[in-house]
Amino acid sequence: MTAKPTMIEFRDVQKYYGDYHALRGINASIRAGEFFSLLGPSGCGKTTLLRTIAGFEDISSGAVLIDGKDAAQIPANKRPTNMVFQSYAIFPHLTVEENVGFGLRRAGLDKAEMGRRVGDALAMVGLTGFGKRAAHALSGGQRQRVALARALILKPKVLLLDEPLSALDKKMRELMQVELIKLQRHVGITFILVTHDQEEALVMSDRIAVMFEGQIAQLDDPETLYRRPKTRQVADFIGTMNFLPATVLSDTPDGCEVEVAGLGRCRIAADQAPPGGNGQDTVVGFRPETLTILYDGQAAPERETPGKVEEVVYYGDMTYYDVKLDGVSAAVRLSMRNVPGRPVLDIGTRARVAWSPDALVLFR
């Protein structure tokens, strides 16, 4: 599992559109066989970065290496990469078969071999029997599959996916997420996905690069990204995060002693508190699911703080509560699994909130 070779390497990649600085020094490497995501809000440069791999976008300085070779020397139509476009870019005047087999035109295959490979590709994406259909007569999900089959038929080293699921409805999207993961495991090649949907990135990726304003803010596996975001911006973008103002009382190599508004004094381990000395103006973040409302007779496993329920949002399996902790002006959000025999609380109820210092992350 460890030490997989590098497939894509970005070395200080810069990109300007006139005065606009679209990519600001990207350094990253993507391993062979990895499902990698570029995640960020629109305009953060994630699509531009993907297009530099495909060869549709020149870079202003730096280098992009594909399997160890400088990509600048390879024109887009010769690169060992293929792309699934956001609009799918299915050729509307061709049949499904002709679309999927398009990339094989130059391979000089005979008719039987061509038909066999197109058939295999269609089978791989679950479209066996659709070969003769007109491309424009397909549904969104089917177009998506044709685009996948067409891109994979050339057996590229890297498959580039530019927001491939954004045009699908929620159900279809969730279905395709699972199918894409399975497909990636099956073919074993590197997938690079561009998305603005943090949930999609968390579900599908081995590793995620979160981008803001042309820079990579954090590159980690989904769990690390979710539990230990490095900056407040990343924490805010991925999932829901509560923030409370805090003061660092002492900063030692094995953690920080912190006074958090509402929660009081506690200790945060070093890997969740970047060093930076003592001081005010810091913020502590924690996820909604790390808080629990204690019912009568329940004792807090670690710490507890009293508060008042301000808002209740019922989701069936879950209930979200906004609770105003005593001594804090803004409410924090917490999520609770609904269990039979435990009624949903009313607005205005006094409640005890249990929390753990292990769940806190300090942002400087």
Binding site: A54, N82, M83, P92, H136
Partner: protein, 268 residues
């Protein structure tokens, strides 16, 4: 009766628009030289007279040569211009495209007079070639308007996808772009052909001794006995226009069906 007057207005409008055209075949098959009611009897002699009129044949030949050449030239030029204006960004593009499209609103008489002055100044002999020159000038903006919308509706990622799958930019143009804008190209050819075929002012100024069909028709109206023959000719032309229009519409609809796009109304 709400909208009653609107119905009357619509009816009057349509009668005014189409009645003269309906009169055309009526008198073309009428057995009298004078264009007046009542009709005297059925006859096809005016059509027969058409076959026996060498100057008319010359005019038809001239017009066809001019119209075919004009439609091919102006469509070719328009393909380049439409592609450039929809795909690339370059300084002064808006101004340049505006100037190219200007002949759409420029009075033809001005185009005709200024072209005549320049050609005579250069010592060029007036002929079919000079008419083609003038017609290309006025047809190209129409072709660009038609083709721009064809190129505009082309998803840029289609080209990128073909390139990504190993094609060159030339083969991408041939395999993807050209087939997808083909309905637009056919429309452009038919429209410019029609415009050139019935254009009068420029042809009248620049044709010299080689009269085109409209110029010939106009000259014939001086002779009363020629009028029923012109009616017969007009009838044939109306039928031809309808056929052309149907062909253009057929290709447009087929193009839409092939690309699965929604029909947003004809190009006319």
């Amino acid at each position: 009766m709400r909208g009653g007057w609107f119905k009357v207005y619509t009816l009057v409008y349509l009668v005014f628009l189409f009645a003269p055209i309906i009169l055309l075949p009526m008198f073309a098959f009428n057995d009298a030289t004078v264009i007046a009611f009542p009709l005297s009897g059925f006859s096809t002699k005016w059509f027969a007279a058409l076959a026996d009129d060498p100057p008319l044949h010359d005019a038809v030949r001239n017009s066809l040569i001019i119209a075919v050449t004009t439609s091919i030239l102006s469509t070719t030029l328009a393909v380049f211009a439409a592609r450039a204006s929809t795909r690339y960004r370059f300084p002064g593009k808006a101004g340049l495209m505006g100037l190219i499209m200007l002949p759409l609103v420029l009075p033809e008489i001005i185009v005709a007079v200024s072209l005549l002055a320049v050609l005579l100044g250069l010592g060029v002999n007036l002929s079919i070639l000079t008419v083609i020159l003038g017609h290309v000038l006025i047809c190209t903006p129409f072709c660009i308007a038609i083709l721009s919308s064809a190129f505009q509706s082309l998803d840029r990622s289609l080209e990128e996808a073909a390139y990504d799958l190993g094609e060159t930019s030339f083969s991408t143009f041939r395999l993807i772009i050209l087939p997808l804008v083909m309905p637009g190209i056919i429309s452009s050819l038919l429209i410019s052909f029609t415009i050139s075929l019935d254009e009068f002012i420029i042809a009248f100024f620049l044709a010299g001794t080689q009269a085109t069909l409209p110029v010939y028709i106009f000259s014939q109206f001086r002779f009363p006995q020629a009028v029923p023959v012109i009616m017969a000719l007009g009838t044939i032309l109306v039928c031809l226009s309808i056929v052309l229009l149907c062909i253009a519409e057929f290709f447009r609809r087929r193009g839409l069906a092939r690309s699965g796009a929604k029909d947003t109304g004809g190009f006319l």
